[in-house]
Symmetry: D2
């Protein structure tokens, strides 16, 4: 498995704590979106990008444009999940991800997430820094 493969199929483990659950006894729906962002953040870190640095040194950050989420099955307290993150599209100023939250029995939640690169002050679209582009592998 090459580095490129790792970045194509990035996976991050997430444990469910009390903070993630609601009175229905399961993970509150926004929990899965937070878990997905942790995986995107860790994927960025794995390809060598620190978001805090990106913001301070290059003045840009990534923000959500659109999210399409399917909630199939709920996770519960103490569950150990894995969240995967695959880049499916790379444009000048935006990226599209396919993401899944899974447990041992299969997919719980899946999503398509579009993020834009924006100026950290004005929130106007900004080209993804040139140094970052080659680090981002697209999955077919």
């Amino acid at each position: 498995m090459t580095d490129a493969d790792i970045y194509r199929q990035f996976t991050w483990p997430v444990r469910v704590y009390w903070e993630d659950t609601d009175a229905g006894g399961v993970v509150y729906h926004t929990g899965y979106l937070r878990f997905m962002e942790r995986a995107r953040s860790e994927w960025l870190r794995a390809v060598g990008v620190q978001q805090a640095e990106l913001r301070e040194q290059q003045g840009v950050m990534f923000v959500l444009c659109a999210a399409q989420i399917d909630f199939r099955r709920a996770a519960r307290l103490d569950d150990l999940l894995e969240v995967c993150c695959t880049v499916t599209e790379r444009k000048r100023a935006s990226l599209c991800f396919r993401q899944e939250v899974r447990d041992a029995a299969g997919v719980l939640v899946s999503g398509v997430i579009r993020v834009a690169c924006v100026d950290a002050r004005t929130f106007r679209p900004q080209a993804i820094p040139a140094g970052l582009l080659p680090l981002i592998c697209i999955s077919e």
Copy 2:
């Protein structure tokens, strides 16, 4: 304006607090989903449904099946927003909502949310209680 109209175009005010913001200086993306759920909960309350009672007395609750969210513009600390909630589809065991989060200048975030009525223990789909259906008006 009749009662039916009120329920067709339900709107709920939301103030942005520190807890809702992130280091980007704006509302963290899951905040808008929480605001949308507050509006759905208050709409249910307005049509006469207490969700805690629904669960204890009828053994059912509503859970998210799918969410499709567009993030156009970000809200900031101290902003006063309004969140609207319109039922666009009413099936035997699910409802579909069109929702918007707005400020004085227009729409910030819009979404299509599908919720299912499920058994509170098994999470299996359950018919929406008969007494509830006539309270739910569909918007064309």
Copy 3:
């Protein structure tokens, strides 16, 4: 009741939503701290201070230094609570609040909260802006 009295005994209503609860069926413990901060923010707004403006125009903000919280009884989904907020101490660069979260049956959670006024960039202690001090009434 004079304006001064209002500010001495400031109270803010809070409704409990799904987002606030956990799998124990009650409000997750950090919820009460968020509710207390909403009351402090609304108290500041009531005495004429917008925190976003305070930060942009004067370069200062309030941050938590210490919190001492007693959790006596838990709130549940749909509960309507009131959160009160009384200033018990006013120093050059900090304020101390006594706060309570109550329902119709009495106090659920009580706390003593100390906040410091800090420079918004360096987080170094900063004198509370002179224009703000006269607005803050101390309760005996």
Copy 4:
């Protein structure tokens, strides 16, 4: 180092994500309390206790009674923290913890947390299950 030592000085790593921060550019204050609970949950898991099982099989759970927190220095996006958790008192139906959130430069936040063992339905105090007590080592 024996097993007992491990449980006396339990430490858990926590990464700061966007979800944890606020518009002040730092971790929102309730984040540290959530981090502390993650460490307590992982400490329980390390001594062999699954909280979900504890609740289903023995009908008890741990809830917060009191928290005393000192916020000295703030964590920021991307920071890698460690959260430690030491039992300082073990009574029939409650435990007291001393906890710290640290980065490489020292302590950011420290706290004393008291949790009670309660009946999961009535929230009445309940003796800590006999099988659990020997697993809990007290630090002097």
